[in-house]
């Protein structure tokens, strides 16, 4: 048990604009977001002594240091699993500062994911050895070549078993876009949609995903600064505590082409994380005030609501129908509009929104929000003030 002054706190958040064509390099997006996070915290970028990002991020640590003038990095890690890594970064940040290895830890993610390359397109030149997933070798020759196709294939048994319809999924998209419509930083600011719009949007992958079931493809950068409570009190912002942060990667499970283990109904890794988080934070995900749930595609929201135990297995559709995810509901969903409404910076912009909600500075501020759940499939964190 560590003492209270050693506990990890988020003290700085920064981001660039979220766009479809940033017009500058990914390294510059990273540098701008990191500088913004340092300024937000009131710390000198030179003092950053540890960092993490995704294994998929193109900006090397050395290049980040070159632009920001970081004097010495003592510890750096990179995380597998694509967007599922987004909340895993919080686990590494927490461990790095609470162990005493680092004093000022940086999380960053920057990408020109719309203007430079597109996750939504088949990448037939990608080496099957380049990533730990089997999706290239065992899906590509059969015409399942995009994240949407892998996601839809893995969600099929769940949607079939519980009779979830396209309209049901549309309700989730409408919820995100409603929140985005009143968030000036969202790409879809002032552009809400109806179920009818969703139903009229073109198929991306039959029989599951229409265009409006998918997150955006975006350019942009996000950065987060973490330190210990004793140092956090000298920073500019109210520290947001990391009450718990966990991830769980299980045997024979894959990132998104996750077909080979389990019944494809339950998400055991999320269930494990939910239990560990409740034990660590003293509060269960379902009892927190804000639900930032990774939304690459609408069915993921259903599966994570059940995996993180907001409701029972097969009950997520009714949980949503009952209005629990509305901004004035019991567990409001991504008040920034999520990755569908605000922008897709690989999940990281959901973390910064969680922090703003704790500070009380969000565009769609949830009244009296004291705790937030950050979820990205294999990973979860509970933050609070």
């Amino acid at each position: 048990m560590i003492s209270s002054f050693q506990k990890a706190c988020i003290v700085g958040i920064g981001q660039t604009e979220f766009s479809k064509a940033s017009g500058r390099s990914e390294q510059q997006l990273a540098a701008e977001a990191i500088l913004a996070a340092c300024n937000d915290a009131g710390i000198d970028p030179a003092s950053i002594d540890g960092m993490t990002t995704f294994s998929l991020d193109n900006s090397d640590e050395v290049d980040v240091m070159r632009s920001l003038g970081c004097e010495e990095i003592k510890y750096t890690t990179r995380l597998p699993q694509g967007g599922a890594a987004s909340v895993s970064t919080i686990v590494h940040a927490k461990n790095a500062v609470e162990s005493g290895i680092c004093d000022t830890f940086l999380i960053f993610r920057a990408m020109n994911e719309r203007s430079q390359y597109r996750f939504g397109q088949p990448h037939h030149s990608m080496s099957p050895d380049a990533h730990s997933s089997t999706f290239m070798e065992w899906c590509f020759p059969f015409g399942a070549q995009t994240p949407a196709s892998w996601e839809a294939l893995s969600c099929g048994p769940y949607l079939h078993k519980y009779g979830v319809t396209s309209e049901d999924l549309g309700r989730i998209a409408v919820t995100f876009r409603k929140a985005a419509s009143t968030n000036p930083n969202a790409w879809f600011y002032e552009k809400p949609i109806t179920i009818e719009d969703h139903q009229n949007s073109r198929w991306i992958v039959e029989p599951t995903l229409r265009l409006l079931d998918c997150c955006q493809e975006s350019d942009g950068g996000v950065a987060i600064i973490i330190t210990r409570a004793d140092k956090a009190k000298d920073c500019k912002q109210t520290p947001v505590q990391i009450l718990g942060a966990e991830y769980s990667m299980l045997f024979n499970h894959e990132i998104i082409s996750d077909f080979y283990q389990g019944d494809l109904i339950r998400t055991e890794n999320s269930e494990i994380v939910a239990d560990r988080l409740a034990a660590a934070a003293g509060i269960a995900p379902k009892d927190t005030d804000v639900a930032m749930i990774y939304d690459n595609f609408t069915p993921q929201v259903l599966r994570q609501l059940e995996g993180f135990k907001y409701c029972g297995i097969g009950e997520a559709n009714d949980y949503i129908k009952d209005g629990n995810l509305e901004l004035d509901g019991k567990t409001p969903l991504s008040p920034n509009g999520g990755l569908m409404g605000e922008g897709y910076i690989h999940g990281m912009n959901n973390i910064t929104e969680g922090v703003r909600q704790m500070r009380g500075t969000a565009a769609n501020q949830i009244r009296n929000a004291k705790t937030a759940m950050l979820a990205s499939g294999v990973a979860g964190a509970i933050i609070g003030v």
Partner: protein, 129 residues
């Protein structure tokens, strides 16, 4: 037409067998456990001694999709992609060759189709009783 499979050291046996019209999976030599997708070491007994075993080629459709936009690269028309649970308990992603939409729970049987480079991949057809 369809793209060629991507062969690697650890998986070449699978695609080579397809070229001979055989549907096989990796079998651990000492402990006889079957694995798919293949891997360099048996996670059960940690042996790297591998052989392979011919399967019944029969299974049940667990899930299906068809990539509409973007269309499947390398195909004339995007195929029906199916996740098959094989009778041996393993799962594989493949195609259902059919004019009608796949149905979860349908029983299918393996066959083979040629690729653009003259290789062969396993595909499935409905079992007609």
């Amino acid at each position: 037409m369809r793209p060629d499979p991507i062969k690697r050291i650890d998986t070449a046996f699978f695609w080579d067998a397809c070229e001979q019209g055989k549907f096989v999976v990796q079998k651990c030599e000492p402990c006889n456990t079957l694995w798919h997708p293949p891997r360099p070491m048996c996670p059960k007994c940690h042996s790297v001694e591998k052989t392979h075993q011919k399967l019944s080629g029969k299974g049940v459709i667990m899930s299906w999709v068809r990539q509409v936009r973007p269309a499947s690269y390398g195909f004339e028309n995007s195929p029906f992609v199916i996740l098959v649970e094989l009778n041996e308990g393993l799962r594989i992603v493949s195609n259902l060759i059919s004019d009608s939409v796949p149905v979860i729970g349908e029983i299918v049987e393996v066959d083979f189709e040629k690729t653009v480079g003259g290789k062969s991949v396993p595909i499935f057809k409905r079992v007609v009783d």
